[in-house]
């Protein structure tokens, strides 16, 4: 009888196991998952948006963070396993994902209309949340003198030390051209030719051995504050944050590349109603402007500018002083060219 018993014993164990597992699976329910860019910025978003939202609406939020790009969203939608609801996207990614059906079209009448948003701050699939910029940040102990502009960023003789750059083509090609003497207003025209792209890569070649690539927004402030890199590109708000916390870092604003980030809803989410409610909430000017109490990113509604604290205003990318020599990141250019240029960038970077 031992045969039958052994088999029964084994099979029973397996069956029992599967049943328990199935039971666990059935009981799963997902909280509204909001995906930001991590680090000190998301900490502030938690204080300014997430916690008050949950308090007022009773809808719990599960936070997640990512480093941009569309691959997570695409594979989630394509494998039909969507677990993000609201995600914060850069503009070119937002438009591409929207065109390709990875995002829900926003029900603008429920959210409160697009009229109050600044130019480019709202679109079919996205509700603008901040104006931010890529800036040149440097360690004030390691760097002697005051660098300005991207040519100083590339000047490792006068300003020795490693350089941090965001992995990917976007921003790096623009700033390489500016460092090579192209005026901000001519950057995208130059980049739209093959020679222009070659020129940008050639410029990056000069710096290649000094580059340490970052992906998460939290990395560059930490690297530059600890002196691991002497200068780095970084999201302006996080450097500002580190500076106010007393770290030896500063921003060289000249040539900043500024852009708008938006909230979007992943296509096919099971929490769409809650997601819309969230976007509606954070788009109310009085809620939106709460972030500017904490971190130096600009709001995307005119009405929200009014309540920006006085000492914060000059630290925003849109402050008149900071806009001198600045470049507005071109959504149009990157929608058309990002995949091609990222592929070239990856081949270049891994060589």
């Amino acid at each position: 009888m031992s045969v039958a018993r052994n088999i029964t014993l084994g099979l029973a164990a397996t069956a029992l196991g599967s049943m328990t597992l199935a039971g666990i699976a059935a009981a799963q329910d997902r909280d509204l998952t909001v995906v930001g860019w991590g680090g000190s910025y998301q900490d502030q978003q938690g204080i300014a948006y997430f916690e008050p939202f949950t308090e007022e609406t009773g809808i719990p939020i599960l936070e997640e963070s990512f480093n941009g790009g569309l691959s997570n969203i695409m594979s989630m939608v394509e494998t039909d396993s969507v677990v993000w609801d609201v995600v914060q996207l850069e503009d070119p990614e937002l438009q591409r994902a929207c065109q390709q059906g990875y995002l829900e079209r926003l029900p603008w009448d429920e959210i409160g209309g697009r009229d109050d948003f600044i130019d480019g701050g709202s679109s079919e699939c996205g509700a603008g949340t901040i104006v931010w910029s890529i800036v040149n940040a440097y360690n004030t102990d390691e760097v002697e003198g005051t660098p300005s502009g991207w040519d100083d960023f590339f000047n490792v003789e006068e300003f020795p030390g490693k350089r941090g750059l965001r992995r990917g083509a976007k921003f790096n090609l623009e700033l390489a051209l500016m460092a090579d003497g192209v005026a901000p207003e001519d950057v995208y025209e130059t980049l739209s030719t093959e020679e222009g792209v070659d020129r940008a890569f050639a410029k990056l070649d000069e710096l290649k051995e000094h580059i340490q690539w970052w992906e998460a927004g939290a990395q560059p402030p930490e690297w530059v504050a600890s002196g691991d890199v002497a200068m780095t590109t970084a999201y302006n708000g996080r450097i500002d944050k580190a500076q106010t916390e007393g770290q030896p870092v500063d921003i060289a604003w000249e040539g900043q590349i500024y852009a708008i980030d938006s909230w979007a809803i992943i296509s096919g989410t099971s929490n769409k109603d809650e997601a819309v409610e969230f976007i509606k909430y954070v788009s109310e000017p009085e809620n939106m402007s709460r972030l500017q109490q904490h971190i130096a990113y600009g709001p995307t509604k005119e009405a929200a500018f009014e309540s920006v604290p006085e000492e914060m205003a000059p630290r925003l990318p849109t402050a008149p002083d900071n806009l001198e020599g600045a470049l507005l990141n071109s959504t149009e250019f990157w929608v058309d060219n990002q995949e091609r240029l990222d592929r070239r960038f990856n081949a270049w970077a891994s060589q």
């Binding site: 397996t14 196991g17 597992l21 666990i24 997902r30 963070s65 396993s81 939290a218 990395q219 600890s226």
Partner: protein, 275 residues
């Protein structure tokens, strides 16, 4: 320990040289584990010596519900689930292995050990696509199944090792006295192998609790495990709260190691292997 007095000079050099070398390797082995502990008590946000001051602030952060305690709970849940299933499956297989009566044994054995050998990334990506079709990605079920597969060979190896030198006559004696197989299992086999099963379970728990690659692919925000949280933390911004968590994990590892050692000694005594 001195070199014997009759040793020649090169022998003395060799004797001490070997010991100094081994001592250095030992420093290499354990120093990194302990070097981070003091930093977890730093009052600053930086991961470097000298520390600005002493504080428990990072431990307070670790004890906060999000993210650490949330991920710790997920990890414990997954690890316990995977331990139960893999220990059950692995122990049955180890019992079969000890009988040594199958010609296909080496093949079966090699197959059952494969999850230990196949690179985690391949298992992870394979399960990622497979579970996507079944709707099991981003679920605890999927994660537990995956970890069960990964832990199974470790249980098998550990339990099989305790069954080595297991006295088959005991089973036959019980059988000839008329005990039905289940009774034989419960009254004879189980007491002897239980320390081995326990160390197998311990092993399975440690493997699942520390597993990150599969978790990165299969765990959604709701299932985020402790290692996944640590991995993204290390990739993006290490702050000392990771080190505080790491310190707690070192304490846990020490505990696991001690229990494993005790179990091993017990098992050897039960099988009469050591005096």
């Amino acid at each position: 320990m001195a070199a014997p007095s009759y040793a020649t000079k090169p022998q003395v050099v060799g004797h001490y040289g070997l010991r100094i070398f081994v001592a250095l390797v030992c420093v290499f082995l354990v120093a990194p584990i302990f070097a981070i502990i003091p930093l977890s008590f730093s009052s600053g946000t930086f991961l470097s010596y000298p520390m600005p001051g002493f504080s428990f602030r990072w431990y307070e952060e670790v004890l906060a519900p999000r993210p650490w305690m949330f991920t710790l709970r997920n990890s414990l849940f997954v690890a316990i689930g995977a331990t139960i299933f893999s220990t059950t499956l692995g122990t049955l297989a180890a019992l079969a292995m000890a009988r040594k009566n199958l010609r296909s044994l080496p093949v079966i054995n090699a197959f059952l050990l494969a999850p230990m050998i196949v690179p985690l990334i391949i298992t992870a990506v394979g399960l990622y696509f497979f579970f996507a079709q079944l709707g099991l990605t981003n679920s605890f079920t999927g994660l537990i199944i995956a970890h069960t597969a990964l832990c199974l060979p470790f249980v098998l190896v550990t339990v099989a090792a305790t069954l080595e030198g297991f006295d088959g006559t005991l089973v036959r004696a019980a059988q000839s006295l008329g005990a039905p197989p289940l009774t034989v299992f419960r009254r004879v086999i189980l007491p002897i192998i239980s320390p081995g099963v326990a160390s197998g379970a311990l092993f399975a728990f440690a493997i699942s609790f520390d597993e990150v690659v599969v978790a990165v692919f299969l765990a959604g925000p709701t299932q985020r495990t402790l290692p996944k949280q640590m991995f993204s933390g290390l990739r993006e911004n290490i702050d000392p709260s990771i080190l505080a968590m790491a310190t707690l994990l070192v304490v846990m590892a020490t505990g696991l190691m001690i229990v494993a050692g005790l179990l091993k000694r017990r098992s050897e005594r039960m099988r009469g292997l050591s005096g």
